[in-house]
């Protein structure tokens, strides 16, 4: 029995490494409270190790811990995204004045970051509803605390409270849905549920209610409208690093979990070999329309409200809501095609969104403000930074030759392939709308002059620039050479137990 456990453990080496790292960080923190350097190094070392192990394990496709956890290409893909995002955020945190001001609790900060990461890594592999709930809560609990990390700032505290209440409520609703599913199928295992559902069930109302209850939990995690309400407030209030992390990693984990849940639970696995890797839903769970409405609402509302924001972080919060909407489009397709598009989008999104938040953070370090008016004239004072931000924003808009275009392009490709033209039109129109607010930032940076007539250049240390470049270059590179990206995503669409 112990042997089985050890065997299983070898399958979750990355998670184990992260767990060990977080323990080590905690211990080191207890020993030396103020040494940030070592904690950063430790975290990065652990994460890199995990990253390495992950890349080594690409291609693994099995299930461990009595089917609780899948270690399949799909999960590994998202784990890579999450770990990479964590690495970037750890580095970002090193440069963040906001975080560095809290040096006394910096150990806890890294601990929380790592535990979020850990929770998310488990999330993407969970193939059991109980596991999903547990891991979702795990990452959420750390997130609540992390968003309230800068305890001196009122905003941060408020963000953490709102996040907590909203999160607790949503996960409670989700749990209730899980319990109903359990009642309907007698199991919490996704594959098991699928088997039972395939035999047909007359309890449509219960099934629908339960799936939507569960959708509330997912929707909250990926901030899909109308479950997004916490997002702007929390994103604005939380430290920028955490916001960046939430907007990328947390969303990725949520998406991964949602995709897995819907795909494994609700897809009729007896219908095979449809063109373009399309799937058929089990009758009674025609979730496609709901997802479609969700995605249209999400991107439209996100974009429209973002038009009105003056706080860049808040604007990016709405933008990330809108981005979630585009990604949901990929889900709506319900095909390998769409899923791989979402996955590509995430890689792209990782670079561009983290990049945008990173620049926002760096500028906030210098100017102490995230208000859009404070971006005036930045183009002259910090050209590299501004150009980088411009590229990230253009990428978020989805214009070539940036990676963002490839992300959107793949989404629309899959939609058109599935002949969902109408919704694709909505999608592209939305991206036109989104240009308007992204360009506001660019406009302020380059087209307008600082009213205070400050012109002295803002300088940034080399290390910060290197991190910037390491986000900027992929954003441009993947815009032109996305071969491997697509191949990787397509290979990674496989889930355990699915064809």
């Amino acid at each position: 029995m112990l042997e089985t456990i050890v065997n299983n453990l070898s399958n979750i080496m990355p998670e184990v490494i992260v767990t060990v790292t977080l323990c080590v960080v905690l211990i080191v923190h207890l020993i030396d409270r103020k040494n940030m350097q070592i904690m950063t190094l430790l975290s990065i070392a652990g994460l890199f190790a995990a990253f390495y192990v992950l890349t080594e394990s690409i291609g693994t496709n099995n299930s461990t811990f009595s089917g609780m956890l899948s270690v399949d290409p799909f999960a590994i893909f998202f784990k890579i995204v999450i770990v990479f995002a964590t690495i970037v955020v750890v580095m970002m945190s090193r440069f963040s004045d906001e975080i560095n001001a809290e040096y006394r609790t910096i150990g806890e900060y890294y601990f929380l970051l790592l535990s979020m990461c850990l929770g998310m890594m488990f999330m993407v592999g969970s193939s059991n509803l109980l596991m999903m709930y547990l891991t979702l809560e795990m990452s959420s609990l750390s997130s609540y605390v992390a968003s309230g990390f800068t305890r001196k700032a009122k905003d941060s505290s408020e963000a953490s409270l709102k996040y907590l209440l909203y999160g607790a409520f949503s996960s409670g609703v989700m749990l209730y849905g899980i319990s109903i599913i359990y009642g309907l199928t007698g199991t919490l295992d996704l594959v098991g549920i699928n088997h039972v559902l395939m035999q047909g069930s007359s309890s449509h109302l219960a099934l629908i209610t339960a799936s939507i209850f569960i959708l509330v939990g997912f929707g909250y995690k990926i901030s899909a409208v109308p479950f997004h309400y916490w997002t702007p407030d929390v994103y604005e209030g939380a430290p920028t690093t955490i916001t960046a992390f939430l907007s990328v990693a947390s969303k990725a984990a949520g998406f991964a979990m949602m995709m897995r849940a819907f795909k494994v639970m609700f897809i009729d696995s007896s219908v095979l070999d449809l063109p373009a890797g399309a799937w058929t839903l089990i009758s009674g769970v025609q979730i496609q329309n709901a997802l479609m409405i969700l995605s249209v609402l999400t991107m439209t509302l996100g974009n429209l409200v973002a038009l009105w924001q003056d706080n860049v972080k808040r604007m990016l919060a709405y933008s990330s809501i809108a981005q979630a909407g585009y990604m949901l489009l990929g889900l709506v397709v319900l095909s390998n095609d769409g899923f791989s598009a979402v996955m590509i989008y995430f890689v792209v999104y990782l670079f561009m969104n983290l990049g945008a938040f990173y620049v926002v953070m760096l500028l906030a370090n210098k100017t102490g403000s995230e208000h859009i008016d404070n971006y005036r004239g930045i183009g002259k004072r910090a050209p590299l930074l501004s150009v980088a931000l411009a590229v990230f924003l253009i990428s978020l808009t989805g214009l070539p030759p940036t990676a963002g275009f490839i992300g959107k392009w793949m989404i629309f490709l899959s939609l058109i392939n599935a002949k969902m033209i109408g919704i694709a039109v909505v999608g592209v129109l939305n991206s036109v709308v989104s240009l308007y607010y992204y360009i506001r930032i660019i406009r302020n940076m380059f087209l307008r002059d600082d009213q205070t007539e400050t012109t002295e250049p803002i300088r940034f240390p080399l290390a910060q620039q290197i991190l910037l470049m390491s986000l900027l270059i992929p954003t441009l590179y993947f815009g032109l050479f996305f071969n491997q990206l697509i191949e990787f995503a397509q290979l990674s669409v496989q889930m355990f137990g699915m064809k």
Partner: protein, 167 residues
């Protein structure tokens, strides 16, 4: 007999929960919650989940409720009127909740649950052994994760609640 016990516990649970929800005094609510937890524990017993019932009592009553009470004490001045906690959004909430009740009632009445809906034979066998087994076999991963969660909770709560040093 079973029915009587059931209705008793059911009544305790529902009534005290109602007090929790509707009482304007937060202290009353907190204490009413104690009875709710008891009631639920009773129902657990009726559901042949003895281990769960004990856990419920220990964790909820011994842990969570105490925490909540701490919270109440630390955040409210017991002698002031502040202790009365108002409500808001009553009307929409009532509407929404009524809808939910309706929905759930519908769901529970119409659904065809897995296996039978008649009551199976009560066995006197306790579940502790099975649970214990599961915890180190099939559910070992959730178990471990739960431990990490608790660690996170401890560290997080400690960090969050620690008083700021006066500058």
């Amino acid at each position: 007999m079973y029915e009587i016990i059931f209705y008793f516990f059911a009544f305790v649970t529902v009534a005290s929960a109602a007090v929790v929800v509707f009482s304007r005094n937060i202290i009353y609510s907190a204490f009413a919650l104690l009875f709710t937890f008891f009631g639920v524990a009773g129902l657990y017993v009726l559901l042949n989940a003895d281990f769960l019932a004990i856990t419920q009592l220990m964790v909820y009553v011994g842990g969570i409720l105490v925490l909540l009470l701490f919270g109440v004490m630390l955040t409210t001045n017991t002698v002031s009127v502040d202790i009365k906690s108002g409500s808001l959004n009553v009307f929409p909430a009532v509407t929404v909740v009524a809808a939910i009740v309706g929905l759930l009632t519908g769901v529970f009445w119409t659904s065809e649950w897995f296996m039978s809906s008649t009551m199976g034979e009560l066995t006197s066998q306790t579940t502790s052994k099975e649970i214990g087994n599961a915890l180190i076999t099939t559910h070992v991963l959730p178990f471990e994760i739960a431990s990490v969660i608790l660690l996170v909770a401890i560290v997080g709560a400690a960090m969050m609640a620690r008083r700021e040093r006066v500058k």
